[in-house]
Symmetry: C2
Subunit: 102 residues, 2 copies
């Protein structure tokens, strides 16, 4: 059985959802780590000071906002930043936010 | 008597406060109108569908976050966007947000 996860189409990604996702500092840290890694990262490899279930919630928020793509690799969920999609939807925004996060 | 209002120094402006301010769509509309006007606007000239007291609250949040400067011109409060300050603090961020707000 193939499990799939819902991702918003690019045109349906809203600035409101992106900002609601990124107003949370833990979620900004996740996005920063994904950007620095440049590759898919499994949920367990993130450096976060929150519980696993809280982390899962944060990943769901980021996915539903259109910021990350999640896919299954066996039993592991891999996360990648939707860098090009976001650049197409909101030019310059992700880069400026990542730079500002430092 | 000269009345003055507190404004954060540029170095004290945080991304967290900026995002908390701009996650609110009414505050984004205020910032957009200020950007389009390019000049100081009094609180009463804003096109907003909220009460005067709510609007005053939004302006306070924007000022405390470092996004706007407020000054008195007689009994009127004039609001200007801290465009150059923000560009120096978080390059590209305000422009990308304004473009994304559309």
């Amino acid at each position: 059985m193939t499990r799939t996860l819902d991702h918003p189409e690019l045109a349906d990604v809203t600035l409101q959802q992106v900002l609601e996702a990124l107003v949370d500092p833990v979620r900004r840290r996740i996005v920063t780590q994904l950007s620095e890694s440049g590759a898919g990262m499994s949920c367990g490899t993130f450096d976060a000071t929150v519980s696993r279930s809280t982390l899962t919630h944060h990943f769901n928020v980021l996915r539903e906002a259109g910021l990350i793509r999640q896919s299954y690799a066996g039993t592991t969920k891999l996360n990648t930043l939707r860098t090009e999609d976001l650049e197409a939807r909101f030019p310059g925004l992700l880069r400026a936010l990542l730079d500002a996060t430092g």
